[in-house]
Each structure stands twice: as C-alpha cells, then as structure tokens.
C-alpha cells in the first residue's frame, strides 16, 4: 500500500505547530496503525529527521495512552476501536490520512501528537474514589449487589481515560469521562455515602480545568472506543442536581480535625 500522511508537528508546548506531509510506500494491510507510524519514524530517524512523538503503551486497547484524531475522528474511522487496534486494511491504497492530536484547551499539546491529560487525574482527585484505607474489610458477600447493577457499573468503569470524548466533543467537554467514573462508584452500595459530594466536586473540578459544557451532541458516545453510553451523563446530571438542591457541605476538613 502507498499512503500520504498529513501529520501535526509541534516541537514544544509553545511552538505554533503545522501540518507536515509524508509519503509511505511500504505499508502492509496487516500493519496496525501504530506500526505504520513506527515505520514512518524509522524512516525519519534514518533520514536524520525528528520522528513523530505519539503516546502509546499497551497496544491492545486498554491502557488509554494512544490518542490520535485520524481524518477528523478521535481514534479514527472504526467504531469502538482505539488507535492501537486500528489496522491499515481499514484504509484504501493511495489514501490520504490526516493525523492530529486531541484538540481541546484543557489538553495542551506537549509535542506533536502528545497531549497533557493531567486534568483527568485532577478530576479523579476531586472525588473519583471511595474513601478507604488498606486493611481488614467486611466480606463482600455481606453486601449483595444485583448482577444488573454490578454489570452497569462495570459498563461505566470500562472507561480507559483516553480523552477521546473530549476530542470528539465540539465543546471539548469532559462530561462522559466524569459521568462514567461518578456513575461507576455512585451505583454501587459502597459508593453511596459520598455519592452526592462526589458528583458536585468532580463537576466543579471539571469546569475549573477549562473543559466545555455538555450540549448533548453525543459525539463522545459515538467516538468512545469503549462505547460508553451518554445515559451516564443523565445520571450524573441528576445526582448533581440533587446535590445542589440538598446543598451538601463537604465536611471532609472538619471531620479530620475532630
């Protein structure tokens, strides 16, 4: 296969950046998309140019590291598929492929296709956990959970935190990511005590990171490599609304000083 690539190149966070074009003529349909990028980088290295920086690690669709907008779609044209699980046979011989980083102001570009997604970690820090110390705990069968609940919670927990939802959203909203974590924990009995605090503080952090608002475009669901449903956004909205009406007070600080 012969392909033409247009790749976003940006040397540092402050560099203005530009698209650059490359041609590759030794592409094999059985190559994964990232192996095609490896081939490009091998060529650039040997020719004495700077290879294209991109994030990747597990290459089996679960670590959430890979992150490319391919021909305008987060993770490319195949639905429910991460970039690393995309294969060149999904493209035609002679294809022109445009490759960009996630583009959202809350995800600044570090270099080329590598972006800074630390905002996601800070949203989790705001409440994406069930407060816990390590040590003896009750036997799990003492708190039965309906399989339906456990399964739906797992549907939400399947989020790999890649950020495709933000890249896909015209507003750069992180609602699907935030809602997935809040729903995963908020549906389980263990997650009830902090449920409404969690909804409020995670949303507050999300807003302060500069993510846009959710306008129900549903592009996030369409481009999510794990097919996470926007129904979870509805759940988060309802928890958030209830939290606002209840005017909960985060007593975390006071409790500690008792």
């Amino acid at each position: 296969m012969k392909i033409k690539l247009h790749v976003w190149r940006q040397s540092t966070r402050t560099d203005k950046g530009r698209m650059e074009s490359y041609e590759l003529d030794n592409v094999v349909p059985d190559m994964s998309f990232l192996e095609m990028m490896d081939t490009l980088n091998e060529k650039l290295t040997i020719e004495g140019h700077d290879p294209v920086a991109f994030d990747h690690d597990c290459r089996e669709g679960v670590c959430g590291m890979c992150s490319m907008v391919i021909n305008g779609e987060a993770h490319g044209p195949k639905s429910e598929t991460t970039t690393c699980q995309l294969y060149m046979r999904h493209f035609k011989d002679g294809a022109e492929i445009y490759i960009e980083p996630w583009r959202a102001s809350a995800f600044p570009v570090v270099k080329d296709l590598v972006v800074d997604r630390s905002a996601f970690d800070r949203i989790i820090q705001a409440g994406g956990f069930i407060s816990n110390h390590s040590g003896p705990k009750p036997d799990p069968n003492s708190i039965p959970i309906e399989p339906e609940v456990a399964e739906t919670s797992l549907d939400a927990a399947t989020c790999i935190g890649c950020g495709a939802c933000v890249a896909a959203c015209p507003n750069g909203s992180a609602m699907l990511f935030t809602a997935a974590k809040a729903s995963h924990l908020g549906m389980l009995p263990q997650g009830q005590p902090e449920r409404f605090d969690r909804a409020q503080s995670m949303v507050k952090q999300m807003e302060s990171e500069g993510f846009g608002s959710c306008r129900n475009y549903a592009e996030c669901e369409a481009q999510c490599p794990k097919g996470i449903s926007i129904a979870f956004i509805g759940r988060l909205n309802s928890d958030f609304l209830r939290a606002s009406l209840l005017e909960p007070v985060d007593r975390r600080g006071e409790m500690k000083s008792q």
């Binding site: 094999v28 349909p29 059985d30 190559m31 994964s32 990232l34 192996e35 490896d38 081939t39 980088n41 091998e42 290295t45 040997i46 290879p51 994030d55 690690d57 597990c58 290459r59 089996e60 679960v62 670590c63 959430g64 590291m65 699980q85 294969y87 570090v110 270099k111 800074d116 997604r117 630390s118 996601f120 970690d121 989790i124 820090q125 705001a126 956990f129 069930i130 816990n132 110390h133 390590s134 040590g135 003896p136 705990k137 799990p140 069968n141 708190i143 039965p144 959970i145 309906e146 399989p147 456990a150 399964e151 797992l154 927990a157 399947t158 790999i160 995963h184 924990l185 389980l188 263990q190």
Partner: protein, 640 residues
C-alpha cells in the same frame, strides 16, 4: 559475596506471617510517619497500592511513573482474573490448597513461606478491592461469582469480564489519587528512574529524567521501593506494553542489589502470531481455545493451498500424534515448544512461517457453528479485529509469546533487597512464583505486596533509622547524576546509521533463539557470544535523532535498550548455569520422553542470585538454598 538473610520466621508455616508481624517487626508510630519519605517507582498494581496504603498511614510518599498518568501501567492489561481462596464454591479450597497449587505450579523453586503468606492474604485482597468499588462479576443472588483457571481443581478466580486487571488497577489508582488529593502522596508522571543512589551502603534515593523537559534531577528518601514490573521486552516481541523495561531493576543490580533467577520466563502458547517484520507487540488469546480447537500444520513444507482445501491426509496434527493421551491439551510449555519445533522444521504457516493452525472446523461440525461461536464469541471477535480472518471460516493462526518474567530482584521475607532501604514488589521481585506462574496469580501477588505486606514491613527498617539521614546534597547524588547525563551524552554522540528499534529487534531475536522456549548449552553459549557483539555494534552504529532537552522518545528507548543488552547476557548466563529443567525453564538436556521438565533437586533447589562485579566482569553467582519443610518436593505432574 552477597549477604542473603531471608529473614524467614521460624516455626510452623501456618501462622508464620502473623507471628512475624507480632514478634519480629518494629513499627513506626503515627506521629513519626510523616517524617519519613518513601519513594515508590512504578504505579501499577503493586506500586499504586503500596503508595496509596503508605500515604494513608501518614508516610510522605513520592511516586514516579513514565506514563502520562498512573492509571496506564501494564497491570491494566491482565484479562483473566485474580485468585483468592475464599472457598465460596464449597469445593474444598483453602489457604493450604492455594499455597500447594502455587508452589507446585512454580515447580518448587519459590520460597515456601512467601508463597504461603500470599495464599493467606489472598482473601483480604478481594475484600479490599470490593470496598474500593471494583465491580466483580456477581451471581443472580448478588454474591460474587467465580471461575476456574489452569492447573487447579477448584473455582477460586474472581473476575470482571475480561478486564480484571483494568478494574483492579483503577481501584488502586483511585486510592492513589485519593492520597494525592490528601497531599500524602506526590505524583511525578512522565518521569523515568534512570539510576539508584546508594550511600554508606544504603539505598538513599533515585536519579530521574523528566521526559518532557529532559531535566535530570535527584530525589532522596528514607527508603526506595521498586515496583517496576517485568522484563519480557528483552525479547522485543512480548505481550508486555511497549514501555515495559528492565532499567530500574538493572540499575539497582548494578548498584549492588542481587538479581534472582533472571532466566525464568513464562511463554504463553496461544498468542496471535507476528504478521511481518514490522510487528511491534503480541496479543494474547485465551488458552481456553485449545478445548475445542485442533492444532495442525501442513505435512508438506511447500504447501500452497488454503487451509480449507488441504485434505486430512496432508494435515499434521502434531500434538495429537506426538501426545496421544493429552493431544491438544498438553501443558502450556509443551504446547509452546512443539509449535516452535514444527515451525523450525519449515512447516509453519502464515506470512512469516511462524504460526500454526488452531482449527475449529471439527468442533463446528460436531456441535454446530452457533454453539462454538457462543462459547468463544469475544475471542473470535478480537482475533478477527486483528487479523481480518473469521475463525469459523478459516483456522486461526497462533504462536507462543513471552508473557511474564518470574525472575527479579532478590528480596527477603520483608520484601527488602540485600541493599538496606531498597524494596522490590510485584513482578519486579522474584519471590512467589518459582519457575512458573499460575494463571490469575500475578494480580494477587502485586496487591498482597502493595496493600498488606510492604506497608507493615517497611516500618521495621524505617524505625531503626532516623528520618532524613541523607539529602540530595550528598556527593553520591552528584556522582550518579553525572553518570546518568554522561550516558545520555554518549548515546547522542554515537551518530551512526541504525535506530535503537533495530538493535532491540535484533537482541529480541537472539534471546528468542537462544534463551527462549527451550534452551541448550550450545545455544546459550552462542547467545553469550552474539550479545556482546551486538552491544559493540550498538555503541558504534546507533543513530539517535534530536537532543536531550525535550521530549525525545527515541532517547528514552535507546536508554532502555542499553540495559536490555546487558541484561540479556545475564539471562543467558543464568540459563546456562541452571543445568536442570524446572517449570518454564526447559534445558533440552534434561527432559522426560514426553518433553516435560526434569528437575535436579540435588544440585538446583536454590535461588540463583547474581551479584554485579563491574563492567565486562562476569557476575558472581550466590545461592539461597530452598527448604521444603511444609510441602515436600514432588514431581510436577498434571497427567494423573
């Protein structure tokens, strides 16, 4: 000579851990904990759980990972499940049985007190994970579900679909983020440990590189914990994530920590084969496929026909012919070795000639397409996604792949290496799996180490040392920083013609050929000749683009290859010296007529611990003898 005091508690194995905590360990009081700083390198299941647990206790923890978030570590890719001897099935499971299975599975090359403790703590891990919100599979009544896994007779594996590692890691990650928010843990992402700092005989800190800015900095601490995973990527192609590497462990070894059983590598028989030279990693397919698939290759090396058009008479069902009793269900290692054998004879299939057919044709004829599809639906889909072939129409192609490394830094019962103040947990230590790891046991070990063992044992060391004895002004830090920068400059100044990837690939081929599925004296000696040649070539002909003061992924990779090159040699050396077969380590000179490993307990019932002796000098072999008081030695036999 290393001092290898394993600190195993004396007396009966049953309450050894409790007695050890009660009688042998000193603790640090809650008021004093914030004075102690602990560095944790790695944020996988072991690192994240340890950092979170110690942070919650009040220690000042700094955690480092090379990825952009601690949630990315490769523990996330574990599919099958996690073992715990809960005995929820009422099928006779117990701590003893899990201990027995693990020790037997490891072919009696692990320290039995460690293995027993692992089995003992297994149930608490499930409780801990559920309390964190890990959504394990449940039955209709709302109780936890179980399934069974290879090598055992009970159902004790807990799971979240095929993503158990992901959910357990996200549990540990959320606990870690809770502590980061509470400011007990400081997280350094995109930061790679490049060396260990040892001063006055103790581990005092690490030197790291900020991968975005390239800045080299020193970090001092009262103790250093390495949770840096396995080194399967020394083979280039493995099921590990691309970033997995041996650098942290190898640097610790160079600074005086003993490296135990480096040659113990687990190779999984059913992964999707490489499709060409460009292949960057391998993906595992569940072994359960062998229950219904028949494995074969064409009899004729010149065969050109599509598999469906090859008549029965021209198909070589080599496992069924060679092992009539077990056929396609021979143990993992036997299946893996036979696949390589037929491919080496030129009978392999697929574009590279390194693949064998796993054919569901007979099962479909027998049970119907629907039934077979229902059983393996997600696996068939995964296979089709990667290869574009439908396994119900044409046979799957499979080939063995490097999956897990049982070797690692030598640690005592407290998980401390022989270097005071340096700990190693999870896959990066050698302790619990002997010469072979059972399925669904790696997650268990990481979390036992991180949640329950290290947070208690580390206090014993800390309580005997004043906090903050050494800071980064100690000359040892400047020295190590200089060495680290020196290596980076050296790498960038070679200015040859070959990429670090190409050297890594070549090293991988040498390792696979000479220190892979089966090993022999001549092959290992050849490996030991080829690796130094390749290393010399590397330092003469490496081409590295860019500079060191910005994000430079080629530079990161080249640094890891430097250590893989040295480490590969250590693996071959260990495999050569271990002149017996055990578990995954098969020396062709020592096997039963069925191709099973034949142990030599007289000469090799020990842990082989290597001690670094300097550049270009052969390392010294130290031995920790293994005792088998609780569980007497027996032949590993899965046939009767």
């Amino acid at each position: 000579m290393l001092t290898l005091n394993s600190k195993i508690p004396s007396g009966p194995i049953e309450n050894a851990w409790t007695r050890h905590v009660n009688n042998n360990l000193r603790l640090v009081g809650p008021k004093n904990r914030p004075k102690y700083k602990i560095i944790v390198v790695g944020s996988g299941l072991a690192g994240a759980s340890a950092a979170a647990s110690m942070g919650a206790m009040g220690y000042k923890v700094e955690c480092f990972c090379f990825q952009d978030s601690p949630r990315r570590a490769h523990s996330i890719a574990a599919q099958g499940g996690i073992n715990a001897s809960k005995n929820y099935r009422n099928d006779g499971d117990s701590t003893w049985r899990l201990f027995y299975d693990t020790q037997k599975g490891g072919d009696y090359r692990a320290r039995e007190q460690n293995v027993y403790r692992l089995a003992e703590l297994s149930t608490a891990i499930i409780d801990q994970a559920v309390a964190q919100g890990v959504p394990f599979a449940r039955e209709y009544g709302g109780k936890l579900a179980n399934r069974s896994f290879g090598g055992v007779l009970v159902e004790r594996t807990f799971y979240c679909r095929g993503e158990t590692g992901q959910q357990l890691l996200l549990g540990a990650y959320s606990a870690l983020e809770e502590q980061i928010a509470a400011k007990t843990v400081k997280m350094h992402t995109r930061t790679e440990m490049l060396d260990l700092v040892v001063a006055d005989g103790k581990a005092r800190g690490i030197v790291v590189r900020n991968l975005e800015t390239g800045k080299i900095t020193s970090h001092a601490a009262d103790a250093v914990v390495l949770a840096t995973g396995g080194y399967g990527n020394v083979y280039y192609l493995s099921t590990n994530a691309k970033g997995c590497n041996v650098t942290a462990n190898f640097r610790a070894y160079r600074r005086g920590a003993g490296f135990a059983n480096p040659c113990f590598t687990q190779i999984h028989p059913t992964s999707i084969p490489a499709s060409g030279e460009y292949q960057s990693k391998l993906t595992l397919m569940s072994e359960s496929l062998r229950n219904d698939g028949r494995i074969w290759v064409p009899r004729n090396p010149e065969e050109k026909r599509a598999p469906a058009n090859i008549p029965e008479a021209d198909r070589y069902y080599y496992l069924e012919e060679r092992y009539p009793r077990f056929g396609n269900l021979v143990p993992r290692d036997v299946a893996a070795r036979n696949a390589k054998d037929v491919c080496d004879k030129g009978l392999g299939v697929g574009p590279t000639g390194y693949g064998v057919y796993l054919d569901f044709g007979a099962a479909i004829q027998d049970k119907g397409e629907e039934a077979v599809k229902a059983k393996y639906d997600n696996l068939f889909e995964m296979y089709e996604r990667i290869t574009a072939d439908d396994p119900t129409k044409t046979p799957m192609r499979i080939y063995p792949a490097v999956h897990y490394t049982m070797g690692g830094l030598w640690v005592d019962y407290n998980l401390m290496t022989n270097l005071p103040g340096l700990y190693s947990i999870g896959e990066s230590n050698f302790a619990d799996h002997g010469a072979n790891r059972l399925g669904a046991s790696s997650l268990m070990q990481c979390l036992a180490d991180g949640y329950f063992i290290l947070p208690v044992t580390i206090g014993d060391f800390l309580s005997q040392h004043p906090a903050g004895e050494v800071d980064t002004h100690h000359p040892a830090f400047q020295e190590v920083e200089k060495e680290v920068s020196g290596q980076i400059d050296r790498l960038l100044s070679v200015n040859g013609t070959r990429s670090s990837e190409s050297f890594h690939r070549e090293l991988g081929k040498i390792m696979w050929e000479h220190c892979g599925i089966s090993r022999n004296k001549e092959g290992l000696e050849e490996g030991l000749r080829k690796i130094p040649e390749l290393r010399e070539e590397f330092w003469k002909d490496l081409k590295l683009p860019g500079s060191s003061d910005h994000l430079n992924q080629s530079l990161e990779h080249a640094g890891r290859v430097v250590d893989f090159l040295d480490f590969g040699e250590l693996m071959c050396r260990d495999a050569l010296l271990r002149d017996e077969s055990c578990g995954c380590h098969l020396r062709e000179e020592h096997q039963t007529p069925e191709g099973e490993a034949k142990r030599d307990d007289e000469r090799f019932a020990h842990v082989a611990v290597f001690e670094y002796k300097g550049e270009g000098v052969a390392p010294e072999l130290n031995k920790e003898p293994l005792a088998f008081d609780a569980l007497p030695l027996a032949a590993r036999n899965y046939k009767t």
